[in-house]
């Protein structure tokens, strides 16, 4: 009986320790989350979208775009809104891993109920084999569900006032440099395919399920990028999309229709698009979305004051930069 009491006391003690630890983690996580939400200058560029999407008025975004730097260089939500009235947000991160894509979507779905999720397909070729991907999956799970891990570094802002201010129009990166791509045709027709990493297949299933459960359609989108795309990649995605009955739009095969001119639209020799390239892609994409999906025009709704204000800023800046770009 005494032994039983002793064991019970020990278990109770350990349990109490763990409960206090969980409370501490939750509280510190909350403090860091709140600080980051209030002032996203504390957050490094890569993670800004995580907090910014949560700051958008609830259930106002119809289209969520996910992916790596190709997404935030190619899709401009302000243009989509201005021309088609589509409310969208680019929840992208440089070098976004597929695990991050999944958790980013989870974050976005906390406050939004999009009709459509666009996944820029370059992220589907980023995946380590075996153990490395398992390690990444654990870490990303931890980052998402125990935010203290993801936001731990903001203490620097309190000690040395280190901040990361950055202009950002609904997740779009305003980049205006021009470094032409000059290596010619890059989508050489072939039957070959580039294998999708196993971890991508696993997480794609999770992303599809998440979209299904939340009533959102999923569109796979390849944005123009000679450095990152090839026909082999196109074939793999096409095969995957056919197998899963997903919509797939590869703009690398529609460069003429989009109007891409690699002399003026390339940011860095064919890796990313600049503002001019992004505008062309967004216009084409907007038209495609309007034709293919039932997306409402939100330009006249109540919450559009903020959008209008931001659009005005965006327009002025874009016009100024485009003028400068083409002067050169």
């Amino acid at each position: 009986m005494q032994d039983f009491k002793k064991v019970g006391k020990k278990i109770g003690k350990n349990l109490l320790f763990c409960v206090i630890l969980i409370i501490l983690f939750a509280e510190v996580s909350k403090i860091l989350e709140n600080a980051s939400m209030k002032n996203d200058n504390l957050v490094q560029s890569r993670n800004k979208s995580i907090f910014r999407i949560l700051r958008e008025p609830e259930h106002t975004i119809d289209v969520i775009a996910l992916g790596d730097s190709l997404s935030y260089s190619s899709i401009s939500p302000m243009e989509l809104w201005d021309r088609y009235g589509i409310t969208s947000y680019v929840c992208a991160q440089s070098g976004q891993k597929i695990q991050e894509t999944y958790h980013m979507l989870e974050t976005a779905l906390e406050t939004q109920s999009p009709k459509l999720v666009i996944l820029e397909t370059n992220a589907m070729f980023r995946g380590n084999p075996g153990l490395a991907s398992m390690k990444e999956s654990i870490e990303e799970w931890g980052n998402h569900y125990i935010p203290i891990f993801r936001n731990h570094d903001i203490w620097k802002s309190f000690i040395i006032d280190k901040q990361y201010p950055e202009e950002n129009y609904k997740g779009f990166a305003f980049r205006c440099a021009v470094q032409p791509y000059e290596k010619g045709e890059y989508m050489q027709k072939t039957e070959q395919k580039e294998k999708l990493p196993d971890v991508v297949i696993t997480y794609m299933e999770k992303i599809e399920k998440l979209c299904r459960d939340n009533g959102a359609e999923l569109l796979l989108l390849g944005t123009p990028s000679p450095v990152n795309y090839s026909y082999q990649r196109h074939n793999s995605i096409q095969e995957y999309a056919d197998e899963k009955s997903l919509a797939y739009l590869d703009l690398n095969l529609k460069l003429e229709e989009v109007g891409i001119d690699w002399k003026t639209d390339a940011l860095d020799e064919g890796d990313h698009l600049n503002l001019s390239g992004a505008q062309k892609v967004t216009r084409y994409l907007g038209k495609y979305l309007k034709e293919q999906y039932e997306l409402a025009d939100h330009r006249e709704e109540d919450f559009n004051i903020a959008w209008k204000k931001e659009m005005e800023e965006y327009r002025q800046k874009a016009e100024k930069h485009l003028k400068e770009m083409f002067k050169k």
């Binding site: 350990n14 501490l24 983690f25 993670n47 390690k135 654990i138 870490e139 203290i148 620097k156 000690i159």
Partner: protein
């Protein structure tokens, strides 16, 4: 899968602990062996065959040696003294041969995999100088993880059986457990068979006490590695990789930075390893004992990478010291050259192979060999100067325990350590020499405070954290060194204070750890050796 990674800490270790606990006591050793092989396979794949091969070979040699000893005993029963001596001599010879072949085979595997290309490179330089048209071909050789560690353990076991310090183990599983216990596969500590095998074999259940003690030790290791070492890595790499651009105080900072990084990283990983062992109820030998309070290089090596030093002392230094050649020299030296010269000679003969092996053990690089020779010269110099030092202390009536004497001694040892680590880390011996020379060129003290240090990848906040972390480690080191908390250690403290320390430690690692966005996960340095 390093011991500091999430995969080890949150997946592998907990699964291994659960599997161990749910296995019947008698079979727990098997769970540990299998966990070890899975761990090895996850890092080195099919190269696990080398570990299995070494295990079988070590076991076989042990049994062979034991059989020879048994046969010798049987053959000497009832015989005359002279006959016994002859029989014993014959068997001694056979045993020596078996031991030599046992060691030779596993050393050859290590030498081939680790040093073949180094040998080829150097022979090719010689052939090229001699205008030879034939050059040797380098090979792509994959090195199994931890080969330098388990090879030494296997040799130690064979030698211990040969010297009859232990009896040969009949059960292959015990040898497999000794060589393949997963927490120590990658970085040691290099254990002796008698130190760990029984507690490994015992299969005692996981207790809350061991689990909590082990966890605290793991956390302490993570503190050192993630808060200090991984931050310093950025700073140190920025200077060592572009050393041509720097001189004076920057090079000194790099040498000091690397020494601290290496200590925090290696001793931190050791804490994680020893903590992991503790969770299974296994007490692994300590590898560090506050090395930076050492008063000379010899003491430093008794406090730094202790198990490697002990191994070299036991299996190289002592056998050489009592070898016939050394005894002969000692007799000759004492007679003809005097006690002092004989002592220095004996020390030189016994220390030289120890430090050559120490350098070579770290890897196939001239800078490592230089590192070993550097300590050989310093230690031998210390022995040579001992009479002068003793005389000087006597004449000047110096109290050796007084701070005015102790502190300069410790500082002198620091200088020796920093110079050694400068050569150890440099990208080659030539680079090391260049860096050392550049210390004396354009010293520029003002670089310490003019912001130059903020251009090496760390900001002011990082430097503050490194500094604060080092102070915490120094305070804990001081408490340990002076045994201020006694045997019970932190357990002596009042529970709320103890818990506050645990929570503080966990939150400090989570908040100030160099991981995630903007940081690079740094591999364990000694796993590469």
């Amino acid at each position: 899968m390093g011991y500091h990674t999430s995969l080890y800490l949150f997946v592998f270790l907990p699964i291994a602990l659960l599997a161990y606990q749910f296995t019947p006591k008698k079979m727990r050793w098997l769970t540990l062996v299998l966990s070890g092989y899975v761990f090895f396979w996850m890092i080195s794949g099919k190269l696990v065959i080398y570990l299995i091969g070494t295990t079988i070979w070590t076991h076989y040699i042990g049994i062979w040696l034991a059989n020879l000893k048994m046969q010798c005993k049987i053959h000497t029963i009832g015989k005359e003294k002279q006959e016994i001596e002859i029989t014993q001599k014959q068997y001694r010879k056979k045993e020596r041969l078996v031991l030599a072949s046992g060691i030779l085979l596993i050393l050859s595997v290590l030498a081939y995999l680790k040093y073949y290309n180094f040998f080829v490179r150097n022979v090719n330089v010689l052939l090229d100088t001699a205008d030879s048209p034939i050059l040797l071909q380098a090979k792509t050789l994959l090195l199994p993880i931890g080969i330098s560690f388990y090879t030494l353990q296997a040799i130690g076991y064979m030698a211990d059986v040969y010297w009859e310090k232990i009896s040969a183990q009949q059960h292959l599983g015990k040898i497999a457990l000794f060589l393949g216990f997963f927490p120590q596969i990658m970085e040691g500590p290099i254990s002796m068979y008698s130190q760990v095998t029984e507690s490994l074999w015992e299969g005692q259940g996981i207790t809350g006490e061991n689990l909590s003690q082990g966890t605290v030790r793991v956390l302490w290791g993570l503190f050192k590695k993630m808060i200090i070492a991984d931050r310093l890595y950025v700073f140190v790499s920025a200077i060592f990789n572009y050393y041509e651009n720097y001189s004076g105080v920057i090079i000194i900072a790099a040498a000091v930075g690397y020494t601290v990084q290496l200590y925090m990283e290696f001793s931190g990983c050791m804490d994680i390893i020893i903590g992991s062992g503790k969770m299974f109820g296994v007490t692994l030998p300590e590898n560090f004992r506050q090395p930076f309070v050492s008063r000379n290089a010899a003491e430093f090596w008794r406090r730094w990478h202790i198990t490697l030093g002990t191994w070299f002392k036991t299996y190289i230094f002592y056998p050489v010291s009592v070898s016939k050649i050394v005894k002969k020299w000692n007799r000759f030296g004492r007679k003809k050259l005097g006690k002092y010269v004989a002592k220095v000679g004996v020390s030189a003969i016994a220390l030289f192979p120890v430090w050559l092996c120490n350098g070579l053990w770290h890897g196939p690089r001239w800078s490592y060999i230089f590192y070993g020779m550097y300590y050989f010269v310093i230690l031998l110099g210390g022995i040579m100067l001992e009479p002068v030092k003793d005389k000087w202390i006597k004449i000047c009536h110096i109290n050796e325990e007084a701070l005015y004497y102790k502190i300069p001694q410790i500082l002198k040892t620091w200088v020796i350590i920093f110079i050694g680590e400068l050569f150890f880390r440099a990208n080659g011996l030539r680079a090391g020499w260049q860096m050392f020379k550049s210390i004396f060129q354009s010293f520029e003290f003002q670089k310490l405070w003019d912001g130059t240090f903020l251009t090496f990848g760390l900001d002011k906040a990082d430097l503050i954290v490194i500094f604060a972390g080092c102070i915490v480690v120094a305070i804990v080191g001081m408490i340990k060194e002076r045994n201020l908390l006694g045997e019970l250690g932190i357990k002596r403290l009042w529970l709320p204070i103890r818990w506050a320390i645990y929570y503080g430690l966990i939150l400090t690692i989570v908040i100030f750890g160099a991981y995630g966005n903007g940081y690079q996960q740094v591999d364990m340095i000694y796993a590469g050796f």
